[in-house]
């Protein structure tokens, strides 16, 4: 059995400790751990590095099956590992849609075969994401993939009755509906956040209220039927207020924010560069500030990447013709360090909570988001917070290059990622 000794890493950014990994398990945590003479031990000198539990993404688009030109489960999980992730939730908007036990099991199996990162499929709420008829949620829950998160992400479950039924139905297997909150009528043809910039650029606006009205409705619905509900990629200050209010009532609501909504604003759309086109759209500075504060105080439970790969041609065109979405797995931790840690809003223990513990708990994902302690699964990420580098997509593991951070200087670097004791990333490179 192989052993790895990580020497002198700051656990959750705290005191330097040694961590011994034995097989798939953390065998010991302490100072001055020895190499035990006879055993074959790989020693990693981690002076100045921070050790966190492996990151968990609640919101990833792996594109397989159907759009393997932009990403596959293999390339997507390699990107995830490179970004410090040990588990990702694969969204259901594939071709075919992940709305049957067959498709979710296929994705789950592909993830297991990749070996870079656990892939937990998300099931569609409605057949074909059409918002009309419930998919076989129970069959997906009972499948080998054991789906617990259901979402029509990319589309909003806008029919109030369907949403109510879905919220109720998934209680039977402790599932959660993750809502993509976008009132469709208010966002017909919408191209960017509705505000000063959209008015000047003459791009059809995407009002904050289109997100907030759906969130408000779903919070009330979830409370009414006693279900838990998860809000995807919350993007406005108003949405934060609604979630804060619901939490104050004690309702079972959770919410996520993307790294890009923590950093970028709609001012960037003035470049008309479609790399900034995303759903929900980039909002204003005031929204960014509110989102950071909400993530810091726990109103927003977690960071989810909404990693959305697109082939080059879908972004190398005029704004209105371009696809929405950005890739994010390989830059998420850096953006969070930049926006939350380096600003003093969150410490590394907080990052571990928002990027690992809580998303794993929301997804009911066993074996992830655990404390770094003896006997726990060795899902870990070792990062160098002192590193400063310029984002260069040429080096990405993702098959796509649609990052909004190209050429930007961001802090932090993943040095190593361990999936059940095995290094998927070593010395900053994919193993």
């Amino acid at each position: 059995m192989s052993k790895t000794l990580i020497r002198g890493a700051r656990l959750l950014g705290g005191e330097a400790q040694d961590v011994l990994i034995d097989g798939e398990i953390v065998a010991a945590v302490g100072s001055g751990l020895g190499t035990d003479g006879a055993d074959v031990v790989d020693v990693v000198e981690a002076d100045g590095l921070v050790l966190l539990p492996g990151l968990v993404d609640l919101h990833t688009h792996l594109r397989e099956p159907g759009r393997e030109d932009s990403e596959t489960v293999l390339t997507g999980t390699r990107a995830a590992a490179a970004g410090g992730y040990t588990a990702v939730h694969a969204m259901a908007n594939t071709f075919p849609v992940a709305d049957t036990a067959g498709v979710v099991e296929q994705v789950w199996r592909l993830g297991r075969e990749s070996g870079y990162c656990d892939v937990q499929p998300v099931g569609a709420v409605t057949v074909g994401l059409e918002g009309k008829k419930l998919a076989e949620l129970g069959a997906m829950a009972d499948s080998a993939a054991q789906v617990r998160v259901f979402s029509d992400d990319g589309k909003c479950v806008d029919d109030a009755v369907i949403m109510r039924r879905a919220l109720e139905y998934v209680k039977a297997f402790d599932g959660v509906v993750a809502q993509h909150a976008q009132e469709p009528r208010l966002t017909e043809g919408a191209q960017m956040n509705e505000g000063t910039v959209s008015g000047e650029l003459g791009l059809t606006g995407w009002p904050a209220v289109a997100e907030e009205s759906i969130i408000a409705r779903d919070l009330l619905l979830a409370a009414h039927v006693g279900s838990r509900v998860h809000i995807c990629h919350l993007s406005t200050a108003g949405s934060v207020e609604l979630v804060r209010w619901a939490k104050s009532k004690g309702w079972a609501v959770t919410a996520e924010v993307t790294p890009h909504h923590l950093l970028l604003t709609d001012e960037l759309v003035r470049t008309f560069d479609p790399v900034y086109k995303v759903n929900p759209p980039l909002r204003t500075e005031a929204d960014v500030i509110a989102l950071r504060e909400a993530l810091a105080d726990g109103t927003i439970d977690c960071v989810a990447t909404d990693h959305a790969p697109h082939p080059h041609e879908d972004k190398d065109c005029e704004w209105s013709a371009a696809a929405m979405g950005m890739i994010g797995l390989e830059t998420a931790l850096s953006v969070v360090q930049h926006t939350m840690v380096d600003t003093g809003l969150l410490d590394w223990a907080g990052v571990a909570d928002r990027m690992s513990t809580r998303p794993a708990a929301i997804g009911r994902l066993a074996g992830h988001g655990r404390p770094i302690a003896a006997g726990e699964p060795a899902n870990l990420v070792l990062l160098d917070p002192a590193y400063r580098g310029t984002v260069n997509p040429a080096g990405f593991a993702s098959r796509s290059r649609n990052t909004p951070y190209e050429g930007r200087e961001l802090p932090g670097r993943v040095v190593a990622t361990y999936l059940r004791g095995r290094a998927t990333v070593q010395d900053g490179k994919l193993a």
Binding site: T196, G199, E318
Partner: protein, 328 residues
């Protein structure tokens, strides 16, 4: 001037005056027996139209031809472009054809900006209207028309009160005019039902009113925007009749304007909707004059962008003032 004309905001006051003064001289060419200048001989101007707009296209075509440029009309609607050929591939084709300028009309806001900034082509890009964003040459010809009636050659529009009425939300003409006319010192008031004003309009450098009658007496010019009947179906206003009653310009309202005030319209007009036939056909309506001025203005733009080794340099404010005095 910048190498491309994408937005009216690209023009400084001096740039704008240079275009307008140049257009004055270009206008005189139209009165000559030979309405042609050799200036752009050997230059190629491509009219790349992704949207039907015969008026704007022939205006640019006439302008380029009067300057002896070779003109290629590329009507992308109904061609390979609508069958999925990308803007990029079209641009690369035009580049291979040796275009010196691309005049682009596109239904998508920002497409000309993208064309100019993408590195796909080396040609100068002139925005001939993009989506609901901008239409800078329309604003220039409007400013040219306004100047002829309200201030005079060489002058700006300082203190002139221009009222723009109608569907501001979807109007590239309104956006470009607000930017350019305020650059030239005019005071612009937008008048529209609240549904047809963009969010954030209160931060634009202009006044906003919902009441047309309240601003007529204080207007040196009224610019009526075309209102598309489809907007009615999207609930921007209840009926055509109600729109015409509240925001249309009829003889009675025209009579409320000061004596010297003019009525403008970028065309094509919806008679009976935003403007009555009586007003449209009155001598105070400059719609036809605007068309003629469009050719002169576009000649000026093409000359200043393409006529030399690089785009024209606007003279400093001081020298511009000298010229102002001289041309009086």
């Amino acid at each position: 001037m910048k190498r491309h004309l994408i937005s009216a905001a690209d023009l400084t006051r001096d740039d704008a005056l240079l275009v307008l003064d140049t257009a004055e001289e270009m206008a005189r060419v139209a009165d000559r027996p030979i309405k042609k200048l050799p200036t752009l001989r050997g230059r190629t101007v491509v009219n790349l139209f992704f949207e039907d707009s015969t008026r704007t296209r022939i205006s640019f075509e006439a302008a380029a031809k009067r300057l002896s440029a070779d003109v290629i009309n590329f009507s992308a609607k109904g061609s390979s472009v609508s069958k999925g050929e990308s803007l990029k591939d079209t641009a690369l084709t035009l580049e291979a054809m040796g275009a010196d300028a691309v005049v682009i009309r596109h239904p998508s806001s920002g497409a000309p900006h993208r064309l100019a900034a993408s590195g796909w082509i080396n040609a100068s890009v002139v925005n001939a209207g993009d989506g609901t964003h901008e239409h800078p040459t329309q604003a220039l010809l409007d400013a040219f028309t306004l100047r002829r009636h309200l201030s005079g050659p060489g002058r700006d529009l300082n203190g002139r009160r221009i009222t723009v009425v109608g569907d501001v939300l979807h109007s590239r003409v309104a956006r470009s005019n607000v930017l350019l006319l305020t650059t030239l010192g005019a005071e612009v008031t937008l008048v529209a039902p609240p549904t047809l004003l963009p969010i954030g309009v209160e931060r634009w450098p202009c006044q906003v009113s919902y009441d047309l009658d309240a601003v007529l007496a204080k207007s040196d010019a009224v610019m009526m925007l075309r209102v598309q009947r489809e907007r009615m179906n999207a609930a921007f206003f209840p009926t055509e009749r109600e729109y015409a009653r509240r925001y249309g310009l009829d003889g009675l309202r025209m009579a409320a304007l000061p004596e010297h005030a003019i009525v403008m319209h970028p065309g094509p007009m919806n008679r009976g909707m935003e403007i009555t036939a009586e007003v449209a056909d009155s001598p105070r309506c400059t719609a036809v004059e605007q068309v003629a001025n469009g050719v002169s203005t576009r000649m000026a733009v093409l000359y200043l962008l393409l006529g030399g080794s690089e785009p024209a340099v606007a003279p400093a404010a001081a020298t511009a003032a000298t010229r102002t005095e001289e041309s009086k």
